[in-house]
């Protein structure tokens, strides 16, 4: 049999499932964005009304800005933590077994429920939570801090807690592949630690950083549940606004917003993939 035909047969189940449950559904969302909603029901049409509604409302721009703000702040914090943790594990933990064990320790929460891990912050952040009790008994504050729970602070804290490991794994993988001789050579040539970090390690981990960035940005931009619960309903992101529209059966309008979000996500991801060829790097 022809080799290409064998490859096709092997990839056929994957392709079929992805087309059926990703390709066609996303096309459905795009077509839905042109439908009409008459206040009771929505039905097929070809109108740009949903888009004009979405684009002309300043609320749309505000929540897009808010979502991107969340994404950028979370990304920056996750990047610093993820890079530092990986750097420590790869270059400062000398025993390979301990290195693997500590790496697994960082990744285990990935396999547990995000909903549960989000809930876990509530006893910490509440008015009578652990933070406030600790701060009050240490005498730092007289009254419990109100901004801890149900605020932007709580939302971003939860994001960082949940998503940083998506930054650690790819950066760690990239760093582990750095040949120690390259660093030896830089040391022999008289480079300082900072120079090695800046001129050797960071450039060689850029694939990991790119992958981590894609993960963290898209996870934050796709969230509606954490922002709803942890901000106490005070803050809105694109997807939580969409979810509100869906709950009120404003499906076409939700779809128009979804298309806008897809455009932003695809633009961002393809911009990153243009800078680093992830597929070629994965095959290394």
């Amino acid at each position: 049999m022809n080799k290409t035909i064998i490859s096709w047969l092997q990839v056929l189940p994957m392709a079929t499932i992805l087309i059926a449950f990703v390709g066609i559904p996303l096309a459905t969302v795009v077509s839905l964005s042109f439908w009409t909603f008459d206040g009771l029901e929505y039905y097929p049409d070809f109108t740009f009304e949903n888009y004009t509604k979405v684009f002309s409302s300043w609320v749309t721009w505000k929540i897009f800005f808010n979502t991107i703000r969340y994404a950028v702040i979370t990304w920056a914090i996750a990047l610093v933590i993820g890079f530092t943790v990986s750097y420590y594990l790869v270059f400062h933990v000398r025993n390979l077994k301990i290195q693997i064990a500590l790496f697994l320790l960082c990744t285990i929460p990935f396999w547990t429920s995000t909903v549960i891990r989000m809930i876990s912050w509530i006893p910490f952040l509440g008015r009578e939570g652990l933070f406030n009790n600790a701060l009050m008994s240490a005498g730092f504050v007289d009254q419990p801090l109100e901004f801890l729970l149900f605020s932007d602070f709580a939302v971003i804290l939860t994001y960082v807690n949940l998503f940083t490991l998506f930054m650690i794994v790819p950066i760690f993988n990239a760093m582990v592949k750095i040949n120690p001789n390259v660093i030896e050579a830089a040391l022999d040539a008289g480079a300082s630690q900072i120079q090695i970090l800046w001129n050797v390690i960071i450039p060689l981990t850029r694939t990991g950083i790119a992958l981590g960035t894609i993960f963290v940005m898209t996870l934050v931009m796709g969230d509606f549940f954490i922002v709803r619960v942890m901000s106490g309903g005070q803050s809105t992101s694109v997807v939580s606004a969409m979810k509100n529209n869906i709950d009120q059966l404003f499906y076409p309008q939700a779809a128009a917003m979804a298309v806008l979000l897809i455009a932003v996500v695809v633009f961002m991801v393809s911009a990153i993939l243009r800078v680093v060829d992830v597929r070629a790097e994965l095959a290394k």
């Binding site: 189940p13 992805l18 096309a27 547990t112 809930i119 910490f124 509440g126 009578e128 549940f225």
Partner: protein, 274 residues
Amino acid sequence: MAHGSKSGRGLTFYLLTIFFVLFILFLYGPMIAIFILSFQGETGGMTFPMRGVSTHWFNDLFASTRYGDLAGSFKRSIMLGAIAMLITVVVSFFAGLAFRRRFFGSGPVFYLAIISLVMPGILVSLGIGQMFQTMGIRPHWLVSGLGAHLSWTLPFGLLIMFAVLNRFDSSWEEAARDAGASPIGVLRYVTLPILYPGLIAVALFGLTLSYDEFPRSLLAVGTKNTLPIHIATLTSNVTTPALYAIGTLTTALSLGLIVLAFGAIGASQRRHKK
């Protein structure tokens, strides 16, 4: 830098160690707190202090009807997870084999997998729900729900297969072929046994990602909830430590699966060394 310095640990090492320990505390602290709080006494609340220690809230989960059909949601989630796991392992395995060569059409399939990975889950969910409605089929957790889960587990399965196949030397397969093995024989006696630990990793991802999946299922499961959706709805109306008891149980199950998977990988690697 560990590779360069032959002398003792510098200040950087200790600072980084402190940073790492703080990060681990940040990662696990809240989870540990709710495990402890789930054993809260009967009169205790959702935060510390503990008012005695009891298994009251665990018993309450099973005895009370206040929490809806938790057992049903749990059963559905386990079943979905098991089916999604089997399909993910088989489908990712063959797709991974195909992707060892670049062939016509490999690019679009790869990018479709990446799109599935980065798309906000609720968009996929909305699309699947709407697609079923357009076709006039009622969403069902075993059909549209399963599809939603596969859209999440398959891209991960494929990426892991890439990583696994990186370290796989195709000359072993060629050697078997030269020795007269049939294509099925090569697959059965060479490729599969060597890739076995990687496939367990794919299975672990398939099962746990499906078991914990939430946004993609939301609009795609129909009238019967999965466990994460059930828990998410409970967060807004349960204000007792029973919520933490659910968290403890479901996390314990996930951890058990992880231990089982790593045990299996370790056992297979020890067998190979002999």
